[in-house]
């Protein structure tokens, strides 16, 4: 990773501390600044309320030319998070072809936050969950809350 990229990550971290989206805490390790750990409280107005989620943000060597990779380390029932041990997210600005270098981590964090409040079933990574979200919202809410109790307490 270039010196410029490291500098930018440091700078972004500085900005994030001052402007962390609600309910988030960033664990930053200066020895390994390309992997951030985010502790995230489920937004109160969402089904994830009361849950504590751990996220990982990894910066590729080519950052900021390539997007950071976001993954949920805590299992979550959500149409836009892959339901496997990776918990990957791949939508909007996180897609390689849509990422532009001036985008920042803080907007990625905001995207995650807003997706917890309002999932985007039309750009879903988990089609069956998306389907349930659209067709049978009650059932979706129930499972999501159940998962929060089981995995995110």
């Amino acid at each position: 990773m270039s010196a410029g990229a490291k500098k930018r990550i440091m700078r972004e971290y500085g900005e994030c501390i001052n402007d962390t989206p609600p309910g988030m805490k960033i664990n930053f390790d200066e020895q390994n600044m390309t992997e951030w750990e985010i502790l995230l409280d489920g937004p109160e107005q969402s089904v994830y309320s009361g849950g504590h989620f751990k996220l990982k943000i990894s910066f590729p060597t080519e950052y900021p030319f390539k997007p950071p990779v976001v993954s949920f380390k805590t299992k979550i029932y959500h149409p836009n998070v892959s339901n496997d041990d990776k918990g990957s997210m791949c939508l909007g600005m996180l897609r390689p072809e849509e990422w532009k270098p001036p985008n920042k981590v803080v907007s990625v964090l905001r995207l995650v936050h807003s997706l917890l409040i309002e999932p985007n079933p039309d750009d879903a990574i988990e089609p069956s969950i998306a389907n349930e979200f659209k067709e049978n919202r009650k059932e979706f809410d129930k499972t999501a809350k159940d998962w929060v109790k089981r995995y995110a307490k």
Binding site: K7, D84, M93, N103
Partner: protein, 484 residues
């Protein structure tokens, strides 16, 4: 004594003016003569009309108004200042300059014969700010002789550059404040980034062969335009080679950009004919994609939509007679100059020879091996048939060559607006299979799909094996009954 006091008054006025306008120059040979350049930067760019050939330019920096003042004996009590206004080149008509000059005497009268220069200079500055009312004099753009055009336009560009150089910008990529002199403003959209970041990014794209990444880096760029005209929704414009050189990128890099872009177009066009000489593999000369010789000549016309229109027009012309007349068979390689037949791929045999498409057995072993591999392990893009193999990620593919969105599992076209619908439809065979082979085809080894072609071949083998097994069983059963 009275004379001395008078002198003092003139000198005093010029000295205090010099304190306000340090650029005021007092003539060393005659102490009561001074000159001052008044900058002409109208608040609204001045629209000038150059008649031959007709052209309208909106300029925000114009050559300064040169004011030469001489304070005569008896100023200010008895005589008004004597002054002359000029511009180089003379782009302001002399009638207007004369009116401006007269204004000074009027002010002198109005103020009751006292020191008038400061208020007159302020008056000129205000007049310059509104473009001397030139734009309001007639509703049309203001006419100026064409011979001054180059000077005026160049002056404008130079002043804009100087102003830009003095400004400070926050580069959106390195997130650092940079002086304008270290930055570049994109021609089309006006977004500003630092030169070092632009060079890094574009060099990286071109080295990796990702031509579609060579566009303005601002996340909003193209989106504002998209809302205006929905037609050009996904067509971000690529940066023209000329602009890349201006940033500047190095010539060989820009050359590579132009060549790769052209190569991509050639490759995604199924009608392209390739040179049969193995060491060459150039494309046959075509009017559709002329070979680029001098990239500095490539103008800004490098926009995707225009490119496509151009292609279509030529295509219409060339599709009608193709293949019918014999002469159409001759092709000439643009790289090595080899003349060959586009049907049988032999050296050009003349137009009277009948020939047939070349047989597959004539392909070399190496070609055959790579062909076999491609046929056994890849999925083709449904638009341009480019073979692809997934290394990681989901099964929503976007073709590197022609930007088509398709499914890796079945090569179906996907709607770019809602590509995941395909994986959400329970009726489709790819239902809920978006993340299959996430580690890549041939990647983890636990599941091997080998592209749609490989999968189809495997299905075929399985069917044959099942058939063979069944035949064996029937035969065995037959033998068993015989043995009984």
């Amino acid at each position: 004594m009275a004379e001395l006091a008078l002198e003092d008054e003139r000198e005093e006025e010029l000295t205090s003016l010099q304190a306000i306008y340090p650029e005021l120059v007092v003539d060393s040979s005659s102490p009561f003569t001074a000159s001052l350049d008044i900058r002409v930067t109208p608040v609204e760019p001045l629209r000038l009309h150059f008649p031959h050939p007709p052209d309208i330019q909106a300029l925000s920096h114009l050559p300064p108004l040169h004011l030469k003042i001489t304070l005569p004996e008896g100023y200010p009590s008895e005589k008004p200042p004597f002054l002359r206004l000029t511009t180089t080149p003379p782009w302001i008509p002399s009638s207007i300059l004369e009116n401006l000059e007269k204004e000074c005497s009027l002010q002198w009268e109005e103020y009751g014969h006292c020191q008038v220069l400061f208020s007159y200079i302020s008056y000129l500055q205000e007049a310059a700010e509104c473009g001397f009312g030139l734009a309001h004099m007639c509703s049309e753009p203001f006419p100026v002789a064409t011979r001054w055009k180059t000077t005026l336009v160049e002056y404008n560009t130079q002043m804009q550059r100087e102003k830009f150089n003095m400004e400070t910008f926050d580069c959106g990529i390195c997130l650092e404040p940079k002086k304008g002199s270290a930055c570049y403003r994109m021609r089309r959209c006006g977004h500003v980034f630092c030169i070092a970041c632009l060079q890094d990014f574009y060099n990286n794209c071109i080295t990796e062969g990702d031509m579609n990444g060579v566009k303005c880096l601002s996340p909003d760029c193209g989106k504002e335009k998209a809302s205006l005209s929905s037609v050009r929704r996904t067509k971000d414009r690529l940066v023209s080679p000329k602009e890349l050189l201006r940033i500047p990128l190095e010539l060989p890099m820009v050359q590579r950009y132009v060549e790769l872009k052209r190569k991509k177009k050639l490759e995604s066009d199924k009608s392209t004919v390739w040179c049969p000489r193995k060491w060459c593999q150039g494309a046959a000369r075509s009017k559709k994609y002329p070979k680029v010789t001098d990239i500095t000549r490539i103008e800004e016309s490098d926009t995707e939509p225009e490119d496509e229109n151009r292609g279509e027009q030529i295509l219409e012309k060339s599709t009608t007679p193709q293949g019918s007349t014999d002469l159409d068979r001759v092709a000439i390689c643009e790289d090595c100059g080899y003349a060959f037949c586009r049907v049988c791929f032999a050296g050009w045999h003349g137009e009277f020879v009948r020939c047939w498409p070349r047989d597959a057995s004539e392909i070399s072993e190496e070609e055959q091996a790579s062909m076999n591999y491609i046929l056994a392990h890849t999925s083709p893009c449904p638009t341009c048939s480019v073979p692809c193999q997934k290394t990681h990620g989901c099964n929503h593919m976007s073709c590197f060559q022609c930007k088509t969105h398709f499914c890796y599992l079945c090569s179906s076209w996907l709607d770019p607006g809602n590509p995941y619908q395909h994986f959400n439809d329970p009726k489709k065979s790819c239902f809920e299979r978006l993340w299959e082979l996430e580690e890549g085809d041939e990647g983890s080894g636990q599941v091997q799909f080998d592209g749609i072609r490989g999968a189809e071949a495997a299905a075929q083998r399985a069917a044959e094996a099942a058939m063979a097994l069944q035949v064996q069983e029937i035969e065995a059963a037959g033998q068993a009954t015989q043995e009984h």
